[in-house]
Subunit: 385 residues, 2 copies
Amino acid sequence: MQNFEFYNPTRIIFGENTIPKLADHIPAEARVLILFGGASAERNGTLPTVRKALEGRFTREFGGIEANPTFETLMKAVELIREEKLDFLLAVGGGSVIDGTKFVAAAVDFEGDPWSILTTHGANVKAAMPLGTVLTLPATGSEMNSFSVITRQSTREKLAFGSPHVFPRFSVLDPTRTYSLPVRQVANGVVDSFVHIMEQYLTYPADGLAQDRFAEGLLLSLIEIGPKALKEPENYSLRANFMWIATLALNGIIGVGMPQDWSTHSIGHELTARYDIDHARTLAIVLPSMLRVRQEAKRGKLLQYAARVWNLHEGTEDERIEAAIVRTEEFFESMDIPTRLSAYNIGEDAIEPLIGQLEAHGMTALGEHADITPDVSSRVLQMSL
Amino acid sequence: MQNFEFYNPTRIIFGENTIPKLADHIPAEARVLILFGGASAERNGTLPTVRKALEGRFTREFGGIEANPTFETLMKAVELIREEKLDFLLAVGGGSVIDGTKFVAAAVDFEGDPWSILTTHGANVKAAMPLGTVLTLPATGSEMNSFSVITRQSTREKLAFGSPHVFPRFSVLDPTRTYSLPVRQVANGVVDSFVHIMEQYLTYPADGLAQDRFAEGLLLSLIEIGPKALKEPENYSLRANFMWIATLALNGIIGVGMPQDWSTHSIGHELTARYDIDHARTLAIVLPSMLRVRQEAKRGKLLQYAARVWNLHEGTEDERIEAAIVRTEEFFESMDIPTRLSAYNIGEDAIEPLIGQLEAHGMTALGEHADITPDVSSRVLQMSL
């Protein structure tokens, strides 16, 4: 186990009918900006419930944050905050709205070009506005971590930043708020969570017994409930477990002291930036090929994954590894998430420009050994055709 | 899954040679009280390393906090703090020192009788001094939670309190600081952690998939490393895993939204209060009998425990349950922790007074169903003779 620091001060308020509790966690005199995405937050009743909880408070609203939140849109929220002297942010939505709100929180009082928050990956963030969240789409874990991914429309760049200043003060997780989600988004959320766990787990044996067991426990649970959660949208138990698992997948607890990969995410981000493929769907395309290409470096953990997660104990090592990767693909496909670029009509000619983007963003030494060069990434994409 | 709130703002600083980092987390101008237990903190080098880390800072020291920290001793620390106008507490030791420090933190500015902090279980705590910890004995999880158990010597009462105000600001966990621990204390720590997990896990099925998997993962890990960690005191990997598992066992993450038992602890506390048996050793006496007596109420979870933790799949339900309880006893005994009162020369005549103590402390409706009456507790103790 490597030395580590773990710090996560976000308060989770979990369960049915918990939105009214948010009033207890926003100062009474706060001037609140409620940020959200599209019309669904209104339609499904979440936004009205939030407004009711904050009745009598000073609030403003800012809607229209995109699925991949853009710098351009978010800077308009920054302007509104400055104009209206707002001092508390409440994100109502999924990972995109929360990620966007984190950027806004860091940008409002930032001195200099706010885009540099992304190019320095958050290293230059010295303070941020307080923020809370009401989660409606389990997937990214953003409700309980300090990370955010932002897209710059003008340049088609998608970059991440992290800062302890942007941990949400609180996040309200009411599983019933997910009942009205489109099936596609729930499937995306399951796959996104699954791959978040894999990026922290499937590297090389590093002697974190609890971390491995936690990761495997979350993977087993997602496999158990993922497909069911799609079919039974109003099954509280399935949605509650999915929601909490998605949070645990990326709140830091399973990854402390362990090597991490994240190369699948880096390559996936370029697919989204270029082709607007849903984030989770890019991960389902890249992960299986990444595991095959990196089979030797990941051998110990792939065997552990095969045994503990997929209960595969027969055959040679190579057979068990391949079977585990096939099961992974089948799991994604069982939720109607394709695992090949061809499903999006993307062919071989796309690879060179994608690798060019990776290089332009400095993503030339990815993975737990920092040895996934553009050449290796290119082989991964080839295998995903 | 029940509705829940989860909040744990303690920063963990984990790994070899991390004690010097504590200087970064105590304000430079703080007037620090370093609290510790016996001479071992000096002898094993931990206290000198802490002093070195705080060189040039204003510090005072308070030693002599007992294995079951007493109200009487701790109130002397409170006096010292008031006299010297100290404003930051640093606990250096195991759960007892940390528990004691939490009480001191809450008592210093407390208006009224500080013992009422215990009799109200912390409900009347409105503030506390900031505190940090340097952990030397993995066991209680106190380094990352808001709970504390204090004994009043004059009345032989042992009571617990909890308050969000007494979360440590940070805890330094350096596994090498455990190398010099007596074998007995390490064994105690393993069993203490094991039973902490069981109190949160072995109740009735309550549909927390991640919580169950996390608990099982920690139990499996303790079974894997516990006995080895006793035999190889300077094996970093074993001690690091043990240390982190013991923290995870009681930092709240495995128990959120789930029913909890804690009856074994309540009965065990009375054994310690009356006979000075080490806390963990009382748990090893009570838990197996508790599981046998509560077999019907706990059936679903006992079967899950048998299957997932002990890999028991053969035989009738009753056979698997009994086999799992026997394995649990064997695990404790494999670390030289007895599982019977007779090992301490305690006979049947002890039971009535112990039950009397339980009643005096209001412990008359214990367990996840609040139906463990003094009669049931008496049967548990009978079975533990």
